[in-house]
Subunit: 288 residues, 2 copies
């Protein structure tokens, strides 16, 4: 067949074999490649997307488009919560979610629990713009197993838990099930919110459903996927799923969003409402 | 460098050289390839996205995800308009936009003006689900140059014009400028709405700005890009830009959306509001 072939050695390609698609970025340099105790870590420089960090060959962060993901993993939950003071991020080694979380003045303490310290060290070097809040006195960077950390955490001690993990294969696998969500539920205060990155609304509907079911099973009162663009992830369309302990997710502090004293590049009150609008095809799948 | 290479001859790859990215679909068969008088037309069968139609090597339609684009090219404009009766589609040879338009009972006549009859003939064969309204007595399929058709159309005769074109290179090029938009403005009735597919909010901001500027120049009262996911197009995040003659785009018939007597898989009133929420990074670029 007469196909367009990508020129060799100038493209970084991520194949999504289960979904029959692939995404490629044109690159100029491989900046780093190493095997950490947990995964294969690499950083490339691309022609148009800036730097690109991959774990086990899968794109995690690019300079160009990470703001979409990091803003949507943090602000929707933090503006639904009436007064988020204590936030825990599981994973999130690039520190981009931590940076967004610490934009909220109500937050008194934010702990990032990343299993692989090399991810953070390498991100500091290649994505320094994401690490500008790492020395905030409210920030705590721990390098530990998130499951163990959660098991040992006090009951009713956290307002928002953000599971900013890689895919449900490899080191992230144990974060996608009712056992872990039950542990999160115990650690959350009443009204607390759990956020889990939950892959593509178009390509990973069974996974989204299994996450929703596991959160239900773990005792959360309401569960809601929200959708947003994320070009460097499979299909370019992504989701995270929010679950709340003892309250609903319907309302958010709209007035506080409007008068916030920090910049966002994607998130606004209108974007918040739009992200919570579940497309009928996905709502229907989740009902089955 | 140690890159993952795509296995040869099993992938259809679309390179976006100006944006340093590429998207690939795993395919099982090439179903058709021909040179029409206007462009190179091909159809493939893919493992996960169903059939895929390409024009000059660029993906136009896949079975899996075309509903996103077709619904967003039609319903937002048709529900903003108070009583759309006469609709014209420029391009749209796959008939998917026509099908969505004709779901609206208020529409008395919808004309599709596609320059390349082969696109429609081939779509009938490989995307028959998009052509189910082609024999609606309100449908008119013309195979003609959209610019010429618009030049010859009566003043104040159309309520909604949808420019469902390929990229602003090749046959679609003349559809992206103030001269053509001025012609559309003349043909639209007062309160009429123009819709132009306007590429990726992340990758094609200068193009979106040039479309907005050209629509302003053509005399439209308000201009507004709206965003939606479209995985098979560059970045997986797409837009169309709406412009209105003599009225604004702020309100839409929300009640009619809620009580509509037809199915949509993506479009809802909440999705409508979300799509009109311009992300700050894009709003800022358009202000420059």
């Amino acid at each position: 067949m007469n196909m367009t072939k990508l020129p060799e050695n100038q493209w970084l390609t991520e194949i999504h074999p289960g979904q029959g698609s692939a995404f490629s970025l044109q690159i100029t340099d491989k900046l780093l490649e190493e095997q950490t105790p947990y995964q294969k870590l690499a950083v490339y420089h691309s022609t148009h997307f800036g730097n690109v960090l991959t774990l086990d060959g899968l794109m995690q962060v690019t300079t160009l488009d990470n703001f979409l993901y990091h803003e949507m993993m943090s602000h929707p939950a933090l503006f639904v919560h009436e007064h988020p003071q204590r936030v825990v991020i599981i994973g999130g080694g690039d520190c981009g979610t931590l940076k967004e979380v610490l934009k909220h003045k109500s937050v008194k303490h934010a702990t990032q629990v990343e299993i692989d310290e090399r991810v953070t060290q390498v991100s500091l070097q290649y994505f320094p713009e994401l690490a500008t809040s790492n020395h905030d006195p409210r920030a705590e960077l721990k390098f530990d197993d998130g499951i163990k950390w959660m098991d040992e955490a006090d009951d009713n001690s956290v307002d928002v838990i953000i599971i900013d993990s890689s895919d449900p294969i490899g080191p992230g696998e144990g974060l996608f099930n009712a056992k872990f969500y039950r542990s999160c539920h115990r650690v959350l205060r009443d009204g607390g919110i759990l956020v889990q990155q939950s892959e593509s609304p178009l390509l990973h509907q069974p996974l989204i459903k299994s996450i929703c079911d596991a959160m239900d099973e773990a005792g959360f009162s309401v569960v809601q996927p929200i959708c947003f663009p994320q070009p460097c992830y499979p299909s370019g369309w992504w989701s995270c799923t929010l679950a709340r302990k003892g309250k609903d997710l319907k309302h958010f502090r709209e007035h506080d969003v409007e008068k916030r004293d920090f910049d966002t590049r994607y998130y606004t009150a209108d974007i918040h409402r739009g992200a919570f609008a579940l497309p009928p095809f996905l709502a229907e799948f989740l009902r089955t």
